[in-house]
Amino acid sequence: MLNWLLIKERKFSIRIPVPKKITTPKPSAASISFDLSVPANGLEPILGAAYLMMDRAFVSLDGDRAKKIAVTLTPKAGATAARLKELSAAFTAELATQKVRWAIAKNNQPIREYISEQAVLLANGRIPPASAAAPEPASEQLNDEQRAEIEKLIAEVEDEIKSMNASKSVPDPKNIKASWEEKQEAKLKGGKS
């Protein structure tokens, strides 16, 4: 069996727009605030950028996690107009990087999980180790038969990934998988956490 697996290249790609400017920051005496659209930026990148600012600033987030979040940055080392501007620029840069990191992470989650699962099986002796010296096929030199085999393998891997994802819907009667925020929301709505 061929050791290398090709994942079919898709016809489309995701472009990450890098924001030129978040919104015009309004410097006040002590802090700077701006609004961010959640659908445009994604919740995780906003939270990620906020977390990374903690060495420089106190960060407060407010608003609707599905729509718009108001970010307030208060510098730890005394607020000046220049420092506030610097902070908002740093946040913008962190946000842009976070969007890239999250897009890559999400796009690869099934593959990471698949390789980790293989590693566990390998470590437990459930599958044989890959031969380090396994020759790597040059895709340009494949004949028709090899191409057909690869296509078959691709289909198999895609099926496997799909079924792995599908099999993840395990019962969760105690709602353990719900985040703290989801539980709080449920409580507010009078539901059970």
Partner: protein, 500 residues
Amino acid sequence: MPVEVEPLASFNFREMGGWYLLTNDWGQHAMLETAQFKRFMAGSLSKEDPLLETLENRGFLRHRMDFGALATSYVRKNSFQWIQGPSLHMMVVTLRCNQKCQYCHSSVVDPSRTDTDMDLETAKKTVDFIFSTPNPTICIEFQGGEPLLNWPVVKFVVQYARAKAKATKRKLILALVSNFTLMTDDKMEFLFDNHVSFCTSLDGPPELHNKNRPYLGGGEAQQKVVAWLEKLQKMCMEDEERKYYLPGALMTTTKFSFDYPKEIVDLYLKLNMEQIFVRALSPIGYAKRVWPEIGYTADQFVAFYETMLDYVLALNKKGKSKIMERMALICLTKILKGVDPGFMDLRSPAGAVLGCLAYNFNGEIFVSDEGRMVDHQGDPMFRVGNATKDQWTDVLDHPTSRAMVSASTLDNQPMCTQCAYKPYCGAEPVFHYEMQRSIVGQMPNSPWCVSHMGIFDVIFRKLRDPENRKVFESWLERDQCRWEENDPIPAGASRAEEAV
């Protein structure tokens, strides 16, 4: 910068000033010039570009991944994850000590306080507990206080553990961490005969060492350590059977060390030490109280570390010495060889409980020796059982043990999970508890993170220089020889850091 996500496999990256470092979970890395990185991110590497093949082979491109090889690489890199239970067992046979070290990590008591000596019954039960843990390799390290102050118990544990190892066909490694002030020829012979290796503390020249580690017994501590190190070295080199028990020494950095970078290395050279381990002081236990007098910032430590490493590298390049710096060696073993060197602090999850346990003189079990030090300051947070009455499964199931594992898994840490150093790094819950009152910690504000990120930065930058790389590779080769000849424990290193 335009980014085409689709061809990119899972990886983390770090801007290094003119170039980028890329790493992935499988332990592979690549160093790209900024222009190359931009082409890679934009999905515009041409088919002829040799970089394409390199990145494919290392699992950075999604359309062509060797799943089997990457899973194998992941298993090798995280070998500690597949081993059941701790291998390193630190036995504190007494809290008494005849030194009053400035930073005393071990939080000791006066030599008259014999009530803090481990008794024989507790010692026996502790060894029984240790042998009930499932790891096929057991490393018992005698710590204190000064363990030689409770010599009868050290002797008993050595003999009893050896008998148990023989009966149960387990591999046993024994190590003594001592200040050597109470060492005698008889004790040394006994330890050699029973395959106990030696490790001590050596902070530098007399004016530095004696300031950091004043001796209560009269005389100068440094001179005693040096004399015993010389003697042990000589005995090991003269005897084929003993050459694997070359003594190791650990240096602890206080702010006073900053004035002596060359002198410290030169002393290690003079003593023919194979390695020097430039270690930061942790503000844990007693050291936390005296931090304003002896401590420093993480940035200051990284600058000192680089000065030391530069000097060690310069000596190697000039052919004046082959001395190795241990922290660099640990990191390089992970980075260049893709294997785990068994260093407890740099693991995900951390070594606490899953890799090591510490036993106090009264049988109490702690997640690590640092956890025991916190207890000594009055906070029992890291106590997970007692060897005289609990089972291994009680310790493993203890809520604190589980919290330690969860808190120190880097994929659970918002900053670490995206960090280029994740494949090589670790987070220490006791450190963060002491510094930030949270075992999870907050990495953007963590001195632990600043110093580790700084050290990795230093090492990766040096790796780009072909001459440095040659030196680093020669270290790995020599260290590997030792591993092969002498089981997985490299000589000259404290077993506290190096266990299977």
